[in-house]
């Protein structure tokens, strides 16, 4: 892809994003509601981040991909597998600028390759993570989406670099021992069994942005799709090694975020 084409696409994306941001309701706040951690004595709320994007599903924006079934189904698994006291039956999605953002120390976002945030939103996400919030991003693929995500990330942490997380890192051993990063395909590819990658994202990566104490504060699942595996774990055609790995990685992320 030549440089002019990239610039043209960026301009188009910025224009679309501006349009989306100035149109109330286009972020798809259909079911977002505040569910405080600790309600009914529960501790953990799986909060999905609502962010502006240049492309979305079913008119709700890319943040809503696999939502809410993936989140809900994942939480049922976590509830069954661990002692984490989960808020069940609640679909929590929250906007970046929502006053209650800091009530959710764990945040999940998908298809961040399509994310388009302004500097104010970037600053808020930065503050969220510097206070100790743990942010997991997932399901974005290939060079183009990476480049877009990198631009957003630089708005958040201009001074920080993305680093690969080695399998020996405690995050891969906080609950399960995960020794290799598996590429987890979406439901169609998983059921077809033909390939696992999307676009040119052939190799899965577990990446992170570390804080000053060398703790990952943003976990980046690149060229892999945990969300689809959680959502379709009950599909007979979807290979259990993928759904199993997605649950294991997700649970490890949660335990790590609640212990480090």
């Amino acid at each position: 892809m030549n440089v002019i084409a990239i610039i043209m696409k960026q301009l188009l994306l910025v224009s679309l994003s501006a349009l989306l941001l100035t149109s109330p309701g286009t972020l798809g706040r259909t079911a977002a509601q505040f569910v405080p951690a600790g309600v009914d004595g529960s501790e953990f709320v799986f909060a999905r981040l609502i962010y502006p994007s240049y492309y979305g599903r079913r008119g709700r924006g890319s943040w809503a991909t696999d939502w809410p079934k993936a989140d809900k189904q994942f939480m049922f698994g976590i509830d069954r597998l661990s002692n984490v006291r989960i808020v069940l039956d609640q679909d929590v999605a929250i906007e970046i600028m929502d006053d209650n953002l800091f009530s959710y120390p764990f945040l999940y976002a998908v298809e961040v390759g399509k994310m388009e945030i302004n500097q104010m939103q970037a600053d808020r996400l930065r503050e969220y993570m510097l206070r100790g919030g743990f942010f997991v991003v997932d399901d974005f693929w290939g060079t183009y989406e990476w480049e877009n995500f990198s631009i957003q990330l630089k708005k958040i942490f201009p001074e920080k670099e993305v680093e690969e997380v080695p399998p020996s890192h405690p995050i891969f051993h906080s609950f399960y021992d995960i020794d290799q990063i598996l590429q987890i395909p979406n439901v169609n590819l998983g059921c077809d069994g033909y390939r696992t990658h999307e676009q040119d994202g052939y190799t899965p990566f577990a990446l992170a942005v570390y804080d000053d104490n060398r703790r990952p504060m943003m976990m980046i699942n690149y060229n892999t799709d945990l969300g689809d595996a959680w959502e379709w774990a009950d599909a007979p055609c979807y290979p259990h090694e993928f759904s199993g790995m997605a649950y294991r990685m997700g649970l490890n992320f949660i335990i790590y975020s609640m212990t480090h």
Partner: protein, 750 residues
């Protein structure tokens, strides 16, 4: 002649010491017959008069007859009096620096004493009756020929030295009395009671002469500094400074704090009323390992005695990384943020055991894979390695009965710090009310299992908490923190409305929904050798997430809590000097507490120590079991070189090492004579009263030579002092006769 003598003929002491008798009567009790007869005669004279006024005249007539009878029976006072020059009288004069104090700002106490003795010809009059021996005393006592040898520069006062010397020198001669001239400031006697008892046993009266004033005009003084002997590095120690003043009530003064001579901070204080003691808590940030001398000095306007304005405190700053075990029953944000808050605190090692699933534990902060590999410790040795223990949301049934009892012993016997944090399975929610842990906790648990409440609340710091070091959010003034009332709301808590008797409540929960109920939020109590704390919420993590990331309130709160938790937890071997500061030559008592690894007290350990003086000289000392308290050993030494001394103690049993310990103490010369230097009248009065002597203010010292002769001793005889011609009797007689005549005249009987 005093006013008393004008009316009574003799001095008061003659009446105090003498016994009444009559030359015409063998038994003074027989005089009662005359009293009855006088009353009967008076009634006989006035029997014809009726009415109320007759009783008044009868009374006056009776008194007239009684006085006449008293005079005619030749009354006398029998009193023991020494034979001139047959006995000794010792005069002992305070030769210490405190006698140089100018109470009223002009003449010194010594000048006033000398002037008064000369003005009353004290020694001349005394020499007419006694063989006089003169002594001076400060730290030691010695006999002197005359008062020219008084120097008034002794740096310490030890009154027992004078009593000991008198007992030795005059133990076998007739000693009729001791005149003790002092301001009553005794700062070095250790066995005063024994020394003075020997004098009492001989029946020798002590006449005390008080020199000085009970209230020194315009003086501010630091009287005590209480600070921890040791603390963790990079923490905040709190020193309580007590002070008092005279003549400066309500005035402002400045309290300066220096660390190893370098100015640390200054604070304005208000001086209390005369006789009252003021105090102020000073936060001391300690950032350097080793012995730190903190000096506190008070600067007050027109202070007459600047010598008593400062005191030191020696604090040993250590880097010993005490271990704290935190057991948590479920992954919780409180656990995570607590860990993060203390992660950068290198002085604390937080070891955590987290139950991530019903049968799975996640360990953090461990030194090796063996640590806690089988879960919560099952032996006392394993548990007692930790100095602090935190229990989070984990039900009491997780522990065996043995483990629960072990936790109680951890606090009561090992002296560890215990903390329970709120949560669904904490306190009554974890059914701890039916476990031995309920005894440790500073709050009263109820039987309600559903005491875990989701409700917004804020921190309401108690009156006591406001001055407690744990609740000081910005002791150094350097951290970015907020005030308590600015903190974000907490969102849940374990509802307990009552703390135990003896517990200290540092904060209550202020519920947003109700201002009437104020449940306990943070409280602690001492339990055996240790202490236990209850923090009733698990949502303090919101202070971290809901405030700017640069705010350090959450971190500071937890670091202070955890440091406090282990700050007084002992090691198996502990050794310290009795005080942190000594005067050169003062005996230094050293104590060692020895326990085995399960913290059972050992009385048969081999305990040896080395004291390294400021010049590097090493003195080896042997500790002996005191026999009074299990596990406590004692040794004694003397430090003469000013500076900081290091004490190293090793304990072993049957050739196997138990442990070692290092501490410090300081030897420093300071003008002790100027501390607590006001005239101690009460003490001198008490010494005189107990010995049968008498207390004299300096202005009345001239009476002493005359009074001292009235003593019952080996060289005394009984003298009779006639009373028939006492002027008061004739005055009374005139008054009764005149009064009766006047009364009769008024009634028309005359």
């Amino acid at each position: 002649m005093t006013g008393f003598e004008t009316f009574f003929k003799y001095t008061p002491i003659v009446y105090e010491r003498g016994t009444l008798g009559f030359q015409m009567l063998d038994n003074p009790a027989l005089f009662l017959i005359f009293v009855v007869a006088a009353a009967a005669a008076a009634y006989y004279f006035y029997r014809a008069l009726a009415g109320r006024s007759s009783w008044g005249m009868i009374a006056l007539r009776t008194m007239t007859f009684v006085i006449l009878a008293f005079i005619l029976m030749r009354p006398v006072l029998n009193i023991s009096t020494v034979l001139p020059q047959e006995s000794y009288l010792a005069v002992i004069v305070d030769n210490s620096q405190s006698m140089q104090i100018r109470d009223e700002g002009e003449a010194t106490r010594a000048d006033l004493l000398m002037a008064q003795l000369e003005a009353t010809d004290f020694f001349g009059r005394l020499a007419e009756k006694f063989r006089v021996r003169v002594y001076r005393f400060d730290e030691e006592a010695e006999r002197i020929d005359d008062l020219d040898r008084m120097t008034f520069n002794g740096t310490r006062t030890r009154m027992e030295s004078a009593m000991d010397l008198l007992y030795q020198e005059l133990g076998s001669v007739p000693l009729s009395g001791i005149a003790l001239m002092t301001d009553g400031v005794d700062n070095s006697s250790e066995e005063w009671t024994e020394a003075v008892s020997r004098i009492h046993a001989r029946g020798i009266p002590i006449y005390t002469v008080g020199v000085g004033e009970e209230a020194i005009a315009r003086d501010a003084e630091i009287i005590r500094v209480t600070a921890p002997r040791e603390t963790l590095n990079d923490s905040t120690a709190v020193a309580e400074v007590q002070f008092r003043s005279h003549g400066l009530a309500g005035r402002s003064a400045t309290l300066h704090v220096r660390e190893n001579g370098v100015m640390l901070k200054s604070e304005e204080i208000s001086l209390p009323r005369d006789g009252e003691i003021g105090d102020v808590a000073i936060d001391l940030p300690v950032k350097n390992v080793g012995s730190r001398v903190f000096s506190f000095s008070i600067e007050a306007p027109n202070d007459r005695i600047p010598e008593n304005n400062s005191l030191d405190s020696l604090i040993q700053v250590k880097n010993d990384h005490p271990k704290i075990l935190y057991v948590e029953g479920e992954p919780r944000w409180e656990y995570r943020y607590l860990r993060r808050a203390v992660e950068e605190d290198s002085s604390i090692q937080l070891v955590t055991l987290l139950r991530t699933s019903p049968n799975k534990f996640y360990r953090q902060g461990i030194d090796s894979e063996d640590v806690l590999a089988d879960g919560f410790p099952t032996t006392r040795e394993e548990l007692f390695e930790y100095k602090g223990l935190i229990i989070g949301s984990i039900e009491s049934t997780f522990f065996t009965q043995e483990q629960l009892q072990m936790i109680v012993d951890f606090v009561s016997e090992r002296g560890g710090g215990f903390l329970m944090i709120g949560g669904r399975n904490s306190f009554s929610g974890g059914r701890y009310q039916n476990s031995p842990i309920a005894d440790i906790l500073p709050v009263r648990l109820t039987d309600e299992e559903t005491n875990f409440v989701v409700e917004n609340l804020t921190v309401d710091v108690s009156d006591y908490g406001r001055t407690h070091p744990l609740m000081q959010l910005n002791p150094t003034g350097n951290e970015s923190v907020v005030e308590w009332d600015e903190l974000p709301s907490l969102t849940e808590f374990n509802r307990v409305e009552e703390a135990k008797v003896g517990a200290v409540v540092l904060a209550h929960a202020q519920l947003e929904a109700s201002s009437r109920i104020r449940p306990v939020l943070l409280a602690y109590q001492r339990y055996g050798r240790g202490r236990a704390m209850a923090f009733m919420t698990s949502s303090s993590w919101r202070w971290q997430m809901e405030m700017n990331h640069e705010d350090m309130t959450h971190e500071l709160f937890w670091r202070q809590i955890l440091r406090w938790l282990v700050s007084s937890s002992p090691d198996p071997v502990m050794a310290n000097a009795e005080k942190d500061s000594y005067i050169p030559g003062e005996p230094v008592r050293l104590f060692a507490d020895i326990s085995d690894s399960s913290f059972a007290r050992m009385n048969n350990a081999d305990v040896s120590g080395r004291v390294i003086d400021p010049d590097g000289n090493i003195q080896t000392i042997k500790f002996e079991w005191t026999g009074l308290q299990d596990g406590t050993y004692q040794a004694e030494m003397t430090g003469s070189v000013p500076g900081i001394y290091t004490l190293e103690v090793d304990a072993s049993y049957a050739d196997s090492a138990i442990g070692s310990y290092e501490s410090t103490f300081q030897v420093r010369d300071r003008p002790v004579e100027y501390y607590d230097a006001a005239l101690d009248t009460r003490f001198l009065q008490s010494v005189a009263d107990q010995s049968g002597g008498r207390y004299y203010p300096l202005s009345e010292v001239g009476s002493l030579p005359d009074d001292a002769v009235y003593v019952d001793g080996e060289s005394s005889i009984i003298e009779q002092r006639e009373l028939w011609d006492v002027p008061l009797l004739f005055l009374l007689l005139t008054m009764t006769l005149g009064g009766e005549w006047f009364w009769r005249k008024m009634r028309g009987f005359a």
